[in-house]
Symmetry: C2
C-alpha cells in the first residue's frame, strides 16, 4: 500500500493570504485563544494542576475531562506560535506547560482528577472516565509544543506518560488488555510515532484499536472488578463507544459521534502506516454508511442529544439536530486521513463540507463565542456561548483554525494533490530543487482559481486538482489557451502530468451558481424542502434578513436565485436573494384554524452562509426551506 | 346570572343507541374497567390500603398519586353500574370501597402514602405531593358510589374526609391558607355540594380558588417551614400550578395542562353557583387564549413534555406533541361547564373536538390499551400501552366513557339545548308532563340528524340546537316541509320556540364533506401543510393504509377527496381517499443529497379518523400533510 501513501504538506509551509481563512485564523489567535484561556483559568482547570483540591476545599473539583480542554488549548496555542510568533502567548504557553509538568507523578502519570479526587483508582474505569482520552490530548500537545518551540521538556514528560501507558497496557499477561471509552490516544500515539520515529508508539495505537470490542469485553471485566454490574450502563450498548464488536467487523457508524470519528481517523492512520488493506476496507464501509445515510448537508454528524451521536439511517432532524462542533472537526480529521491513504475526491468533498459549514458554524466571526450544538433550524432560542460546562468544542476550534493550511495539499514524491482552494502559496521541495505553487482566488466566493508556478527552471511534476463534487461545470485552461485542457480525471482529481515551465499559469474555472439541493426521500425532515448551496457553502435563512417570519417562507422552484457579494455583511459574504412566497399573516384573521387556505404573497428573501448565522440579532433560522405549494 | 344557569341532563336519563359511542362504552365496561382494575391490583395500588408497607417490606411503596388512580377507576365503575347493572363489577366496587374505608383514620384522613411512607407530614407539601388532589378524586368517587348504589357508607366516609379538610383549610387564624399544587378538590367539593346541598363544601371550593396565587405565596411559606429554599423548585415558576398570581388576574392559560383544566373547570362551577360575572370574564379571557393560540386541531392541549403543559402561543409541534389524554378530558370538563354558565356553541365546538379526537385517541378500540401522549405525527415508535408508571389517563378514560350521554343535552326550565349529535333518546320531565326526545342519526359518519318528539300532547318548548362550527352548509326541515326553516341563531344555537306536536319531526342536514383545514401562519409546524377533517373528526394518514412511506406523501390542493364508509375497517369508519403525490424513492438513486429535484408521482392515499390510529400495524402517522409543490 506504500504507493498510496500521501503526506499532507504542513501548515507551516503554506502561507495563506486569502480573505476567507486569514480573518478567521486571526480572530482565533487574537480573541479565541485568549477567551478560552480565560475560561480555563476562571473555571479552575489551570489551578487543578496545583493538586491542592480536597473534599473540604472550596475549589471546584477537577473533572475527568479537564486535562483535555487545557491540552487542546495548548496544542492550538503552539500551532498558532508556529506561524505567528508572539512572546505574550509563548510565555503563557510555558506557564501552562510548567503547571502541567508540576502535576506529573514520578512514574510519569498525569491526571489531577485521579491524583486528588479518586486517588488509587487509576485505570479502573476506562469506559467512563476519560483517562486515556486526556492522556492522548496531553501527548498531542507535547508534540505541538516541541514543534513550536524546539524545547523538548514538555514532549519528554508526555513521552514518559506514554511510556507508562505502554507498560500498563498491552498483550502481556502482566498488562491490561483495555482501551479507552473515549478514543483519542490512538491518534496521539500515531502522531508521537511520526514525530519521534519510535515504533512502539504506533504498535500501542494499533493495540488499542485491535483490542477494542473483543470478547470477553474489557468494560465488562473492569466493571465487575469495580464490583459493579456491567449491565448498569446508561447508554445500554457498547455501540456508544464503538466497542460493540471488534473494529474490523464494524460496517456502520454508531454511537457517540466524536468518539467514532477519532476512532476511524486513528484506524486510517494505522492503515496508512501499516499498509493494512483489510482495515482500509472496513473504513470504506464505514465511510459509505456515514455519507449515504447519516451526514447532514452541513457536514454535521450525530443527530441525537441522548448519545451525542448516531441513530438510524436517514434520521436527520433539523431543529433538534445535535451535530456537535467537535464531531464535525472529527469528521475533518477522518476525511483528511482517508485522503492520504485512499486519495479520492469524495473524502475531500466531505472534508470541505464539514470545514466550511458544520465546523465553522461552531465559532463566531469574532472568534470567541461558540456553538456546541449546530442545528439546521432554530426557533430563535439557540445562541453562541462563551464556554460550556463540558467545553470540548471551543479549544478544539482553537487547535483546528491555525492548521487550516494543512488541509490544502498532499504530496507523494513528485505528485502534488490540491484538495482545497484558498489564496495561498506553498513551498515544495522536490528531489532536484524547490518551487513555489501559488493559488490566486476569491474562493469560496468565486470559482476562479489560478495556479502559478514559481521556479527557476522547468520541473516535471504531476499536479492533481480536486474536481469538487458540488460543481456542475468546470474547465481548466493552461496559460493563454482559449480552449480548456482535456484533463484526465483520476478518482475525482484532474491529473496533469507535465514538465512545468517557470511562470506557467493554470486557470481553473468552477461554475459557482446558487443551487437548490434536495435530500433523499427517506430523510423525513427534509421532504418537500430544498436547501440552497453555492460552491461549498450551505446557506440559511436568518430572521434578521427577512421581512416576515422565516417559518412562513417557501421557495417556488422557478424563482431565480441571485448571488451578490456584500462586503459589509458578516465580514464580507456572498448573499443569495430572490423572491419567496410567504403566508400572509395579515390576510389570515385571528382564527387558529380555518378551511380557507392561507394566501401566499411574494416577498424578497435573503440567504446567508450557514456558518455565519447567529452573529447578528437572534431569531429564527432555517437551512431546509419548504418549496412553495402550487397555484393560488 | 341565574338566568344563564343551564344544567346538564344526566347520562342516566339519556339512552344511547348509536353505532359510535355504544361500542366504545361497551368496550370500556367489558375490557377497559377490567384491564385497569387488574393493573391497580398488580401494581400494589389496591394493597396499599392495607397500610402494611414498611421500608423493610418488599412491597411497592405507596405513591402520592395512587389514590387518584383507584378513585377514578371506582368512579368510572360506579357510573357504569348506573346504566349497566353488573353484580360482578358491583361486588368488586364494594371490595375496593371496603379497602379504602379500612385505611381511613379516626379523624377522617385518608392517604396511604402519608400514613405509612411519610407519617407526620400531612399537609406539609401541598405544592408537590398531590394530597388534596387525591382527596378530590376520592370525594368524586364517594358521590358516584352513592348515586350508583344508594348506599351512603362510602359517601359518608368521604364527607368525613372533606369535613376534616374543611377544618384544616380556610380563612381562620388556626387554619391553613393553602391550596393544592394539583387542582381537583375544587371540582370534587362543588360536586359534593350539589349532591348534598351543603353549602360549606361550595365555600371551601371557592376558598381554594380564591386563595390560589395570593401573596405571600403559600408554597413559599410551606417550603420554608419544611426548611427548604422555595426557589429550589424544578418548574422554576408557579405558573406550572397556575398560582403565579391570583386566579382573577390570570388571562393566559399556563403551566401543567391537566391542572389548568381542572382549575378552570372548577372556576366555571363556582361562577355558575355563585353568579360571579367577574369570574366568568376571567374564564372567557382564558378560553380565548386557549382557543386562539394553544389548541391542537384534535382538541389536544399542552404541547410540552417538560411541564406536561402549555408553552408559548402557536407552539404546537406535531411529532413532539405531549397532548396528554387527561388534558383533553380536562378540556371537555371545562368546555362542558362553560356551556352551562355561558351557553355558546364555541364551547360545544371545542368540547366535541376534544371528545371525538384528542380524548378518544387515548384509548384503543378494544378499550384496554391507552395513550398517555397524543402526538399529531409519529415516526412509527409511538404505541398504546396497557398502563403507565404515572397512570392517570387510563382510569380517566374509564370514568368519562360511561358518562358520554351527559354531554349531549342541557336544560334550563323549558329550554333544551342540544350540544352533541348521537342516536339516542332522552326523557325530559317538564312542569306539565314529560316527553321523550329522540335523535336518529349516523353521526359522526353522516350529517343528517332527525329529532322526534314523543309525547302525549302538544308542549311549548324552546329547542336550541348547536350549529357546529365545522359545518359550512346546514338546513333544518320541520316535518314534511320542503323548504328549510328560517331559524334564529343565538350564540351558535338554532333556537326554535314552538309548541311541539306529538310526532313532530325535525330534520337537521349538516353538509359533511371531507375538508382541508389550515393552521394560523404562526404555527410554524403546520406551515405549508393541510389537515383533513370530516364533520367533527380529524383524519390522519397511517402507514398501514399507504403504499409508500407516509412522510413522502403530499397532497395537491386540487385533489378531490372521496369519503366512503368502510364497515369492516376499525369498527366501521368513513375513510377519506384520493390521489396524493409521493416522492419517488426508486427514481432517486442512492445519494443522500442531490441537486436534481425528487420526482413526484401520483399514488392513492387513504386517511382514517385520528382517534382510531395505532389500532393496527405500527407505523408512521401524520395529521398535517404537506401540500404538494408546484409543477414537475
Amino acid at each position: 500500500m506504500d504507493k498510496l501513501r500521501w503526506t499532507p504538506i504542513s501548515f507551516t509551509k503554506v502561507t495563506l493570504s486569502d480573505a476567507f481563512w486569514v480573518p478567521r485564523i486571526d480572530a482565533n489567535r487574537q480573541h479565541g485563544l485568549e477567551a478560552v484561556y480565560q475560561q480555563l483559568k476562571r473555571t479552575g482547570r489551570l489551578d487543578a494542576y496545583a493538586l491542592d483540591w480536597t473534599p473540604a476545599s472550596n475549589q471546584p473539583q477537577p473533572h475527568v475531562f479537564w486535562d483535555s480542554d487545557v491540552a487542546k488549548w495548548l496544542e492550538g496555542a503552539c500551532y498558532s506560535l508556529m506561524n505567528h510568533p508572539d512572546p505574550v502567548l509563548r510565555s503563557r504557553v510555558e506557564d501552562v506547560v510548567d503547571r502541567i509538568l508540576s502535576a506529573q507523578a514520578e512514574d510519569g502519570y498525569l491526571n489531577p482528577h485521579f491524583t486528588v479526587v479518586e486517588p488509587g483508582k487509576r485505570w479502573t474505569n476506562l469506559r467512563d472516565k476519560h483517562e486515556l482520552y486526556c492522556a492522548g490530548h496531553l501527548i498531542e500537545a507535547g508534540v505541538a509544543h516541541h514543534r513550536a518551540t524546539g524545547d523538548s521538556r514538555f514532549l519528554r514528560g508526555m513521552q514518559r506518560y506514554a511510556d507508562l501507558i505502554g507498560r500498563e497496557f498491552g498483550p502481556g499477561e502482566d498488562q491490561r488488555q483495555g482501551y479507552p471509552g473515549h478514543e483519542e490516544i490512538e491518534l496521539a500515539l500515531v502522531k508521537l510515532y511520526r514525530h519521534t520515529g519510535l515504533e512502539h508508539y504506533l504498535e500501542l495505537a494499533c493495540f488499542f484499536i485491535e483490542e477494542r470490542g473483543r470478547s470477553p469485553h474489557y468494560f465488562d471485566l473492569e466493571a465487575r472488578q469495580r464490583g459493579e454490574d456491567p449491565k448498569v450502563y446508561w447508554p445500554k450498548t457498547y455501540a456508544y463507544t464503538q466497542s460493540h464488536r471488534p473494529v474490523r467487523q464494524q460496517r456502520e457508524v454508531v454511537g457517540h459521534a466524536v468518539r467514532a470519528m477519532y476512532l476511524y481517523a486513528a484506524m486510517a492512520d494505522c492503515a496508512l502506516e501499516t499498509g493494512d488493506r483489510a482495515l482500509l476496507g472496513t473504513l470504506r464501509s464505514l465511510w459509505g454508511d456515514l455519507t449515504a445515510h447519516k451526514l447532514y448537508l452541513t457536514g454535521g454528524i450525530g443527530p441525537s442529544r441522548r448519545n451525542e451521536g448516531f441513530t438510524a439511517r436517514y434520521d436527520l432532524p433539523n431543529q433538534n439536530a445535535y451535530a456537535e462542533t467537535c464531531a464535525a472537526i472529527g469528521l475533518v480529521f477522518w476525511a483528511h486521513r482517508m485522503l492520504q491513504v485512499d486519495l479520492d475526491s469524495r473524502y475531500a468533498d466531505v472534508m470541505e463540507r464539514a470545514l466550511y459549514n458544520g465546523m465553522l458554524s461552531g465559532v463566531s466571526l469574532t472568534g470567541d463565542r461558540f456553538f456546541y450544538v449546530n442545528p439546521l433550524a432554530s426557533g430563535g432560542d439557540h445562541h453562541r456561548q462563551a464556554f460550556f460546562t463540558c467545553s470540548c468544542c471551543p479549544p478544539n476550534i482553537n487547535r483546528v483554525l491555525p492548521t487550516i493550511g494543512e488541509y490544502i495539499y498532499s504530496r507523494k514524491g513528485d505528485e502534488i494533490a490540491v484538495h482545497l482552494f484558498a489564496q495561498s502559496s506553498v513551498e515544495i521541495v522536490l528531489s532536484e530543487g524547490s518551487l513555489v505553487l501559488c493559488q490566486e482566488t476569491d474562493y469560496p466566493w468565486d470559482g476562479v482559481v489560478c495556479f502559478h508556478f514559481e521556479m527557476d527552471q522547468p520541473r516535471a511534476l504531476t499536479l492533481k486538482i480536486r474536481k469538487p463534487g458540488w460543481c456542475q461545470q468546470s474547465h481548466i485552461y493552461l496559460n493563454q489557451d482559449s480552449e480548456p485542457m482535456d484533463c484526465q480525471i483520476e478518482r475525482g482529481y484532474w491529473t496533469i502530468r507535465r514538465t512545468w515551465q517557470p511562470g506557467d499559469l493554470l486557470r481553473l474555472q468552477l461554475a459557482m451558481a446558487a443551487t437548490r439541493v434536495y435530500a433523499h426521500p427517506r430523510v423525513s425532515s427534509d421532504v418537500g424542502r430544498t436547501a440552497l448551496m453555492r460552491g461549498p457553502l450551505v446557506y440559511c435563512l436568518e430572521a434578521v434578513d427577512q421581512g416576515v417570519p422565516v417559518h412562513t417562507l417557501s421557495l417556488p422552484r422557478s424563482t431565480p436565485l441571485d448571488s451578490q457579494f456584500e462586503p459589509g455583511l458578516l465580514g464580507g459574504v456572498v448573499m443569495i436573494q430572490g423572491t419567496a412566497k410567504a403566508v400572509d399573516e395579515d390576510a389570515w384573521g385571528g382564527n387558529l384554524y380555518q378551511t380557507c387556505p392561507p394566501i401566499l404573497r411574494d416577498v424578497p428573501f435573503r440567504a446567508v452562509p450557514y456558518f455565519a448565522w447567529d452573529n447578528r440579532a437572534p431569531g429564527e433560522m432555517q437551512v431546509w426551506i419548504p418549496e412553495a405549494v402550487d397555484g393560488e
